[in-house]
């Protein structure tokens, strides 16, 4: 684009931050995500929604001024359950995205940097893994590991790292021959230092964009697993709430479905929009393409 040359050159990051700040959708999305994270922190510490298990009224009360999202079959407040569900959604998003990022970055860096047999083996492994459709792989792993929140994190994490690994590998291959890496090696930097200290910061934008993607796919996948009875047990999650509502709808009880869907919609939409804005801000190739 024909942007005027600036007297002082800026780093990619400060540049990206500037363009993010100007993007109203991005700022708004970031604000929403921060609110959700704040709610999650407050529910974990028990400040908010600690009484979600308590009976607050009769069974299946419709939304009213007193119970804004109504009550569920046990007379518990849907509003408090939805708030408590934020905690699980953020945990699922964060932990699975973290697992898949760590695997994807380590394997991608190793494959791209060392090349040769190492690269061939890693590519072979992830091509094989990616040949099993995501949802079937997820079912298979959940089925074998058994129900539970821990296995949910693991299953969602180990099934979703391939796209990131592919991107990191490709980018590392382009970077490793560059002068700055050669300079580092001339200065005596070892393989690990070159990979982590020199190349990784230059490909970090891909990692961040993919992280935001994984975060929201994990939240959506939890719903499907809940329907199959493989979801979160014991504490409220939006997935189990949506699943519970399949028996309630026929009786005209729509508020549990509505509340959980709305809560999830706002968070996932914000993550989606932020992901798009991040991509525009961090990936110079896409600049100006809207």
């Amino acid at each position: 684009m024909g942007a005027p040359m600036e007297s002082k050159s800026k780093s990619l990051w400060s540049h990206a931050w500037d363009s993010l700040k100007k993007d109203k959708t991005a700022v708004f999305s970031l604000a929403i995500i921060s609110i959700y994270v704040l709610i999650a922190i407050l529910t974990v510490t028990g400040v908010v929604a600690s009484g979600w298990e308590k009976e607050v009224g009769a069974s299946y009360l419709p939304p009213s001024a007193e119970h804004i999202f109504g009550t569920d079959i046990f007379g518990r407040s849907i509003f408090l359950k939805t708030l408590k569900g934020v905690e699980m959604a953020i945990a699922i998003g964060l932990i699975t995205a973290l697992i898949s990022t760590v695997i994807g970055v380590i394997l991608g860096l190793t494959a791209g940097y060392f090349g040769g047999k190492v690269d061939e083996t890693i590519v072979w492994f992830y091509t094989s893994l990616a040949s099993i459709p995501y949802i079937m792989l997820l079912f298979a792993i959940m089925f074998v590991l058994g129900k539970g929140t821990g296995t949910l994190f693991i299953a969602l994490g180990v099934t979703s790292w391939v796209p990131l690994c592919r991107l990191v590998r490709g980018e590392v291959m382009r970077h490793k021959e560059r002068e700055y890496v050669q300079a580092a090696s001339a200065l005596g930097a070892g393989h690990r230092r070159r990979m982590l200290k020199h190349i990784l910061p230059n490909i970090l934008h891909i990692v961040i964009i993919q992280f935001s993607l994984r975060f929201q796919t994990a939240i959506k996948s939890e719903v499907i697993l809940s329907y199959l009875g493989l979801g979160v047990q014991g504490v409220p999650s939006w997935g189990t709430m949506i699943d519970d509502s399949k028996l309630e709808l026929a009786r005209g009880v729509w508020w549990q479905l509505g509340a959980a869907t709305l809560a999830m919609f706002i968070l996932v939409l914000a993550l989606n929009l932020l992901g798009d804005a991040l991509r525009d801000a961090l990936d110079p190739k896409l600049k100006g393409k809207a």
Binding site: W124, F125, T127, S128, L129, S131, I132, P133, I135, M136, L137, F139, A140, I141, F143, V144, L145, Q216, K220, V223, I224, Y227, L228, G229, L230, W238, G239, I242, D243, S245, K246, L249, A250, W254, L257, A260, T261, M264, F265, V268, L269, N272, L273, D276, G288, K289, A290
Partner: protein, 313 residues
Amino acid sequence: MNLWSYVIRRLLYTIPIVLGVCLIIFIIFNVSGYDPAQHLLGKHATAKQIAEVRRELGLNKPLVQQYFDIVKSAFTFDFGRSWSTKQKIIDMIKEGAVPSLTVTLPAFLISTILAILISIVVAFKRGTLLDRALVIKCVGMMSIPSLAYILFFQYFFAYKLGWFEISGYEMGFPNFIPYIILPVFIYVVLSIGPDVRYFRTVILDDIYQDYVRTARAKGLSETKVLLKHVLKNSMIPIITYVVIQIPFLILGALLIESFFSIPGLGGLTVKAVFDSDFPVIKAMTILSAIAYIVFTVITDILYTLVDPRVRLK
């Protein structure tokens, strides 16, 4: 290099991938420590019963043998019998494929054509308010979980308004039509968001290429530039995206089939998860991976037919 040698090379390349897929499935199902015999028989099973089930599943064989059994089943499609129905799994799959296709095939065609049309319009209007609004609408639609769509549409259109069948299926044309309208509609709603978003990016990627500038400089109208030049080049990534979805059509729409009681492969898979039907889950995992590999090969071969540059690589 001619086409045939490319095809043969491409087929040879799938061998390590098939072996790799079987290895992953082997690790998940046979070595991860999960004991299907214990799972099937419960806590009070005698050692003799467990040994019997393990023998039936081939779990008493050496591990290498077990691995080759999986590889063999990937080619012979002999997956043994289901635990819950006792039927041969391959027969269940054959029966389920047709009902699945009656839902997924029309849905796939409608959503793909619709998505391509919408993304062409969006590409024309790029940068305008309409473009922005449509993109946000797509992202918004993608932000609602599929289960919520299914629950809501089934409740609203079938239960409340009574326009469609709530669930069920009848074999044979045209008997199945009343049962598939709503599932097809939901499938289209679910896939239109990601489709349009992807196609739009692909088309816009091309719009900024030099050859498009040349075409404009020649004095071609915007319509001609888009439809004749851009669309032709965008077709390659679009074809990949579309062909890769075909194996999933055969596998059916998991949740939709389960909710509308359509006796297809998607419903079969979901039911297997509910029933902890180990052999069926394993069979569907192998089958879906093989289908995926076969269709990637087909896509790659289609590529070389559409774009001669690919073969040179």
